[in-house]
Every structure is written in structure tokens, then in C-alpha cells.
């Protein structure tokens, strides 16, 4: 029977408690975020987090690991990721050495039971190299498993995750099935560059982290940037929200508005004026055409 330490974790009892716990480590959750984390812990379900870049998907997993003081195990996905890098691999070098060491005393080998014995020996846990997924399953303490940017791995490799996500076990042909002792809390993040398979989605709770509401962004800015006066904060949040409503190649996300805010403070700007914005806009917008569109909006809305 797999133990679910997360279900009884004292800092995850109730949606409000989850929200407060996240706040203590500096992550300001929306109600939806807190609810989903709470449910994931209660139902032992992985969370699939989707949303634009820079809205705090990876940060969420780190924050949960941090307040729960659990180990964060991270698997960064990329094209070409395979079993040997995600799950486990046999340590060929060590196996080879072992065989050679036995071969040095051929007579000894016969006495010890011959080849079949060595064959058993070299497929022992001693020769197994743990990769993140197996590590998360074998971890004795409760852990947080972060599978970052799932959409980057190929559809075929996605199947690797299925056994782990639904049954929390890994099958190693030579050893049998390894079942988790303590359930890891799993976060999968995706930027939505491709559709994930139905099978994967079905096993997860889904959390979409969009650009924050103005209230939440205001809260985040004031918490993360000390010494920010409330009027400037309000102006920044309002302006950024306006930019997001434009048709841009890359809308500014929280991390960008944080950068911008810090830069403004460094420059000693107390209130935003028409004149001060264009010079710093490139911190917020990453494409030249976007910056131009932003400046145009700034100068044109006078008439509108």
C-alpha cells in the first residue's frame, strides 16, 4: 500500500491553509491555484500546469516543495529525452568490471555457480543508475516531482510517464516492479506547443495559470519589490494590463513586469509619465515590433 503523506500534511489541510502556506514562502496564489494544489494532495493526482511563459508554473512546484520541506526532484524535458535519462539505466561500466573481475579467476567462477550466478548479480540494484522518475518513486520521504515542459518531449516518450502518474510504479524488466513507498506530489508543466495525449491529460488535474488579475498582480509586485509606493504599483499594473489587451507577439508576464518595476525603482522614477515609459519599454516587451506597438498605443489613446 502506498503511503500518501501529502494527504495528511498539516500545511495542506484546507484550501485556505494551502494558500497561506504558499504565501509564507513568497508565492501568492490565486484561488484556483490553491484549490488545485489542495485537491492534488487529497486525491493523489498529478497536476498539469499550463499557461504562458513567465507566469510562475515552475515556481509553484518549487514553492510547494519549499513550504512542505520536501525534496524537489526535477526532470527537464527536451526533444530526444529517453528512458535511460528519465527513468533508469544500467551501469554498463560497473557491470563490465564485475564480469572481468570474475573472469580473472575462471576456476572461482565455476565454483560460485557459473554464468547464471553472475547474470543475476550484475542485474542487481547495485548496478542500477537512478534517474529522476525512479528516484521520485523510490524516495522514502514525501517528495515533489517536477516534470518541466512536458510538451517538449515526443509523443512516444510521453507514454513513459503514464505508468508513474496513475500507479506510481516503475517496471524494470530485470528487477520487477518498483512501487512507490510514499506518494510524490507531481507537477507537470507545459507551454502548450503541442497537444498532450488524452491519456496523459485524463490522469491529471488541470491548472491553467493565466496572466494574473490586476488585484493579484498588485499584490505580487508589492510583495516582491520592497519600497514600491502604491501609486506607482497601481500605474504599472494598469499599464501592463493594457499592453496585454493588445495583439502582441509576446505579452508581458509577471516576471517581465517585476523586472520593469525594479528597473523603474533603480532609475528613481516615482510616477509614470508619458515621457518616461518609452525609454524603458524594452524591458517589458521583447520584440521590436511589440515595443513600437506599445509606444503607438501610448501616444494614440489621447484621441480615442
Amino acid at each position: 500500500m502506498i503511503r500518501n503523506d501529502w494527504r495528511d500534511h498539516e500545511r495542506l489541510q484546507g484550501i485556505e491553509v494551502v494558500a497561506d502556506s504558499l504565501r509564507t514562502v513568497g508565492y501568492l496564489p490565486s484561488r484556483q491555484i490553491a484549490t488545485t494544489v489542495y485537491l492534488a494532495a487529497r486525491l493523489a493526482k498529478p497536476i498539469l500546469v499550463e499557461g504562458p511563459a513567465g507566469t510562475g508554473k515552475t515556481e509553484l512546484a518549487k514553492a510547494v516543495a519549499s513550504f512542505a520541506q520536501a525534496e524537489l526532484i526535477r526532470l527537464q524535458c527536451y526533444e530526444g529525452l529517453d528512458e535511460s535519462k528519465a527513468l533508469y539505466e544500467w551501469n554498463y561500466r560497473k557491470q563490465l568490471l564485475r564480469i572481468q573481475a570474475d573472469g580473472a579467476a575462471v576456476e572461482g567462477l565455476e565454483q560460485k555457480g557459473g554464468w547464471s550466478k553472475v547474470g543475476q548479480d550484475i542485474f542487481d540494484e547495485e548496478f542500477l543508475l537512478e534517474r529522476p522518475l525512479l528516484h521520485a518513486i523510490r524516495s522514502r520521504e514525501s517528495s515533489v516531482l517536477l516534470v518541466d515542459e512536458v510538451d517538449r518531449m515526443e509523443v512516444e516518450t510521453e507514454a513513459l510517464l503514464l505508468e508513474i502518474l496513475s500507479d506510481f510504479q516503475v517496471s524494470v524488466p530485470e528487477l520487477g516492479t518498483i512501487v512507490a513507498e510514499s506518494l510524490p506530489l507531481v507537477f507537470l508543466t507545459s507551454n502548450g506547443t503541442r497537444d498532450l495525449s488524452e491519456a496523459l491529460k485524463r490522469r491529471c488535474l488541470f491548472l491553467y495559470i493565466d496572466y494574473p488579475t490586476q488585484e493579484r498582480e498588485l499584490e505580487i509586485l508589492s510583495a516582491k519589490v520592497p519600497g514600491l509606493n502604491s501609486k506607482l504599483a497601481k500605474q504599472i499594473v494598469g499599464f501592463v494590463a493594457g499592453l496585454r489587451s493588445l495583439d502582441l507577439k509576446k505579452s508581458p508576464s509577471i516576471s517581465e513586469s517585476l523586472d520593469w518595476t525594479r528597473a523603474l525603482l533603480e532609475m528613481g522614477i516615482v510616477t509614470l509619465e508619458d515621457s518616461s515609459v518609452p525609454d524603458t519599454l524594452h524591458l517589458l516587451l521583447k520584440y521590436r515590433t511589440d515595443v513600437e506597438a506599445g509606444i503607438k498605443e501610448l501616444t494614440s489613446s489621447d484621441r480615442g
Binding site: Q32, L43, K45, Y208, L248, T289
Partner: protein, 455 residues
Amino acid sequence: MLELLVGFATALRASGISCSQSELIDASQILGEIDFLNRDELRDSLRSAMVKDPLHIEAFDRLFDVFFSLRSFDSAESEDDPGNPKEGDYQDDIDLTDFLAKALLQNDRDKLSRYVRQAVSRFGGIEKGRAVSGLYYAYRTLRQIDLDRLLALLEGALDLESGSDFDRKLHKLDAKRLIDLLKAQVTKEVTELLVEDRGPVAVAKTLAVTLPEDIEIVRASREELARMQRTVEPLARKLAARLAQKHRSQNRGQVDMRKTMRASLSYGGTPVELVTKPPRPHKPEIFLVTDVSGSVASFSRFTMQLVFAMSSQFSKVRSFAFIDEVDEVTSYFNSASDINEAMRLVNTQAKVVWLDGHSDYGRCLESFWERYHSDLTRRSSVIICGDARNNYHSAKPEVLKLIKGASKHLYWLNPEPHAYWNSGDSVISSYAQYCDGVYEVRSLRHLERFITEAI
């Protein structure tokens, strides 16, 4: 409760959101973990279990409001009789606008919902038992609340605080946001009243929630086009990723002898690990040729949007527009800051009209071939978008054969329903014989199917 949940899942499926049996089981388990009398909590929880696509969230929310709108969820309800104004409330219609403005500015949800309730009962004129489709009542109420005056009121009040030019611009945005909030509140209120009257299942049917990917491009309203625009971008990213990925997994590349020898050293000279050369990055070139004539105007706007989104992902996209003359429009998309600007440039500066501005596919294909055939290589994919309605000009399908011969793939996307193909002046079948595929693309769902099946 469970019965309601099943009904809800059925309605979700009816609107196109696939909600599997196991997801429904998850949802029912969730009920045991939360306080399901708290509506917000219930909504957030069910959303995380039953919706797996960000584009479906909006439709989910609307259906949720229908199914879980029982008045008993609002605890404050009992003490408030919606019909009777309380002391300090509005006296006549003009005042109501003022009160709404005040509630919005103070961000006071309770007051807002009370005033909205009054507005709906006063202006909506809801007749019990009458099956009016959609949200006709909401439009009626909003028409009566003077939205222009409300907007002015909100802006005026916000401007009082501080007066720099910059602030004033921000306040305009704020005011618009507040108006949207009011609209949403009115819609919700009307929905609740309708459900009270007719039950959730009936209301869900009349609401006719359309998912963004099911909207018909040619018939879409302005609002629907705006909703679609948001979905085009992820789709373009998907298309780009797919084109770049193709064939990568099969082609493992040649054996890299040097690296294989190096790797064998750690096994005492036995080449245990075979190291292959990294495959050459696949760089497909896309030629998108789009009919921009009046008959497919909204479709061409949509394909142009797709081009615009793709050109930010993908450097090797070249786009061409034509009516009865073809012209390359790639540079307009690269220089324009948004799609509207790009469309304007295409319409004013590109030479797409030769004689009379009626589509002439034969002529355009011919001149496309003449002018750009030297650019086509074995890596080029040509995608032609248009209804192939040739106005009885000469079709010249043999030119398409040449184009097909010079490129890797040739696809045709047709915005017309399959049943209309080859009727009247449509000559799609004479072109189809030379294409790798002709696809009916009337909605984003069709386009997505094209991406997954063809490419």
C-alpha cells in the same frame, strides 16, 4: 448532487468538451473533499478535474453558471428581496446608473449584485415560461442601463484622483474593465433567473455555447473572430513545431566514428555505445498562397492571421496574396506591428488586382509559377487557401502540376463546405488531382485536423 453532476457532464459533452468517465469519477470524488455549498470552491475544483484545455474554460464557466446557479447557493439571498429597493437605493432609472457606477468603483460585490438584480427585474422584462433563446434578456437590460453615460461617470470619477495624461489613459482602460464586469454580472443574473424558471438542461440547450475551435470562420461574428484570434497563436505554434519535428525521430543520423571510439574507451575498447551524428535540423519552407478576394474575405483574414502568428515562430514562411494577380506580402507581415496594420498594407500596397478584382485562379497560379518557381525546392511546402471559385476563367490545372513537381508538398485548404465543391464556378476537383490533399477548413478544429493528419 451526483445527478446534477452527471447532467452537467452531459451538457459539457454536448458542447464539445470531452469529459471522460474517469474524469467524471474524479469530479465526484472531489465533492467529498470540499465544501460544495461554496460555489467558487466548487467551480474551481470541478474546473480542474473536468476541463483539460484552456480554450474550453470560458464555455465551462458559462455552463457551470447554468447548472449550479440554484439560488440557495447564495446565503445572503434570504434577507434580500430582489424586487423591493431597500432604503438608500435608487429612486428612478437615472439614479440606478449612478448606483451601479458607485458599486463598481468601490468594488463592492454584494451591492453590485443587488443593483444588477434590480436592473434585471426592472428592464429585462422576463416572461416566465417563454422559451426565448440565448441571452436576449441580458441585451435588453444592458440597453436600458445607459452604458455610455456609465462609462463617462466611471472615467470622471477615476480622473478625480489624479490628473496626468498617463493616468487618464489608464483610467479609460479601468473603466472599460468595470463595464465588462457589469456585463458579466448581468448575464449571470439573467441566466440564473432563466434556470429558476426552466431548469438547467433546457437553458443549456438554448445557450448554445460554441467552443472557439468550432466557430465557422466564414460566418463568424466580430466577437467570435476576436475569440478565435486568441486561439490562432497557439495553433500557429503547434503547426510550426510539427513541421520542424517531422521525420526527426526516424532519422537517427550517421554513426559518428570518432565519438564512438571515444565512448568505447570506458568499456575497455568494446564499442558498447554507438554515437550517431546529430541529424541535420529540418528547415521546411512554407509558401502560403491566399485568395484575398471578397467572397472569402473573413477566411483570408483568418489565414493571414495564421501567417502573422507563424512568421513570429518561423523564419521561413513566405506569404503571397492574390485576387486576379499574385504578389508576395511577406515583408508587410514582418514590418507590421499587428494584424490589422498588415491587412491594411496588403489591401493598399500589394498588387493583387490586375483587371477587375474577381478571383482568377488560373492566371494567378501561372504568374506565381513564372515569378517564384526558382525559389521552390524539395523542402518547400506550398499551401494554397481559397475556394477555387474561378469566375469561369480558365483554370489551368497543369500549372499546379508543375508547382507540385517542384515542391515537396502541395496542400489546398478550402473554406467551403464539402457539399458545395464543384458546384457553379468552383473548379476544385480539377486542382485536387495534383494536390497531396484538399482539406475542408471551416473552423479551427478542421485546421487542427489538417495539421495532425497531413503534416
